[in-house]
Amino acid sequence: MKNKLIELRNLTKNFDDQQVLKGISLDIYENEFLTLLGPSGCGKTTTLRIIAGFEEPSDGQVLFNGIEISKVPPYKREVNTVFQKYALFPHLNVADNIAFGLNLKKVEKSVISQKVERMLKMVGLSGFENRDVTLLSGGQQQRVAIARALVNEPKVLLLDEPLGALDAKIRKQMQLELKKIQREVGITFVYVTHDQEEALSMSDAVVVMNNGEIQQIGTPTDIYNEPENRFVASFIGESNIIEGHMIRDYLVEFDDFQFECVDKGFEDNEEVEVVLRPEDLDIVEPEHAKITGVVRDITFKGVHYEIMIETEKRMYNVHTTDYAPVGKKIGLLFGPEDIHVMCKMGAY
């Protein structure tokens, strides 16, 4: 079993009279790629800054290898950060930026230059030693920032929306590279992003946050397939969210029909919310389905069509490769495993 490296215990943080963290508890394991995911202002960056030591929590504990560190200054922590806008030192060249931490530790010059060279090779910037950092492209600056952090061999690398300032194509490429680097160096990455696709494709574990609270912690598949509440379901991917209630275990009722499902553990007749992912829905002839409706809109999206179907109760969003003309009456088909039942939560 992997070891716990960082434990956050009931962290709160107030700025003036605003509470930005409302009790965050989280375990971060060795060699894990963990992503803090949430909309802007949800407290994910504040959580990262508390781990880095730039902010002190108003209350709660930060344990590193079991030792409380929330009062330890950043320069004494075994973590390094990749900043959102890279924060490279403009007065130093590429090699000196990367060597900054090693120079402070008074490492021997020959060792430094070897390590810098190795880092540059890893991030694909060999031969860039003497370049001026201010003249590099965004992607290159990002690589220097990663090298500058990793050369210190931290136990944890913190990344604060590191790809936010890059254009879409380079971002995709950097996602793959970051994942590769993480496997190569074998340390924990804590990654902050508001981009759900980024979170799902890179992480071992995703922490979904909103309004200073953790909504769900799980693997990307768990988060996507088994969202715990309406916020997670609507923030990650598209979804049809329908109010209903559990008749009993494995039987849920919504839109006046009863459906078999794979969920249990709710109270009988408990009010719940049901998630139907658009890509899990199929269109069939009306007589083969319980829920029927009329096609109101169809959009070609490349891989699939996005069809808006109006039923008696609501509008359904369906992603399917089948075509149906606007105005056609059709049925919606889905199986028990496509139904995801969640606890009902307050209004959003």
């Binding site: 880095a52 950043p74 320069y75 390094n80 924060a87 403009p90 007065h91 402070l104």
Partner: protein, 274 residues
């Protein structure tokens, strides 16, 4: 923008008449002396040679020494103040910078007279010291009074460029340095100080230039016998009436200042490359 370009012409004429022509006249006077009836002037090195006399060399040494001390004090006091101001919120910074510049709104002569009143043998400071049985201390017409005048007058020229360069600095760089293992002192010397160098160089140059060539402040606060290069030039033009010698000193001063500025820039570059 292009259609406004002709608007620069009045300014060009203005600076030609008031800056370029006088400069040529100074060069002309410096290399000439009064001639005979046929030719009213003749070329000579005499004015420059005269400057090598010990009296005059002492004057220039003293001027540069005083300029150096003034600059050093302005830097030592001004840098912490600029740093301190840059840590405030933007609104508070505007107010604080305004406070720094307010003295400059008042005429320099007036400010200097005010210092004379404060520092004189029966001025406010000596009256206070007298009440405390510590005084009176004679402060006027000494190096001290001249330095006080110079430092107070030129301090804003040090603070403002340093403050500007500190403000321009990305604060996340400080966090990056701390993150990489630099404590507060190391962060200051390795990042803040290095990045504020352009401001420091500008401030040092301005204050040094102003201090070396000033003549009103040393005259008023240092008394008649306090001779700096600015006073020397002034007296050559105004009381002695030897325009040729005065021009030569002006030229020498300008050349020495130019050389020291170049050295300063070179040193700054070398430090950046380290």
């Amino acid at each position: 923008m292009k259609q406004y370009r002709h608007l620069i012409r009045p300014y060009l004429i203005w600076s030609l008449v008031l800056v370029v022509i006088p400069l040529f006249l100074i060069v002309f006077y410096a290399f000439t002396e009064e001639g005979n009836e046929v030719l009213t002037f003749s070329f000579t090195w005499k004015n420059f040679a005269r400057f090598l006399e010990a009296t005059y060399l002492n004057v220039i040494l003293k001027s540069f020494w005083l300029g150096f001390i003034t600059t050093a004090i302005c830097l030592l006091l001004g840098y912490p103040l600029a740093y301190f101001i840059s840590r405030f919120s933007e609104k508070a910074q505007d107010t604080l910078i305004l406070l720094v510049t307010i003295p400059m709104w008042i005429n320099m002569l007036l400010r200097t007279y005010a210092w004379m009143n404060l520092l004189s043998d029966n001025g406010i400071i000596n009256q206070l010291l007298g009440r405390l049985n510590l005084g009176p201390v004679s402060m006027m017409y000494t190096d001290f009074s001249v330095l006080v005048g110079l430092v107070c007058n030129f301090m804003p020229f040090m603070i403002i460029p340093i403050h500007t360069s500190l403000c321009k600095m990305d604060k996340s760089l400080l966090e990056a340095a701390m993150d990489l293992g630099a404590n507060r002192v190391q962060t200051f010397w390795k990042v803040t100080w290095k990045l504020s160098m352009p401001g420091v160089v500008n401030g040092v140059m301005m204050v040094f230039l102003l201090a070396v060539s000033s003549f009103v402040i040393p005259k008023l606060l240092g008394g008649g016998q306090y001779m700096l290069i600015g006073n020397l030039i002034e007296s050559q033009f105004i009381s002695v009436g030897d325009w040729n010698f005065g021009s030569a000193i002006s030229m020498i001063l300008a050349v020495i200042i130019l050389i020291s500025m170049r050295l300063m820039q070179k040193m700054d570059k070398l430090q950046q490359e380290e």
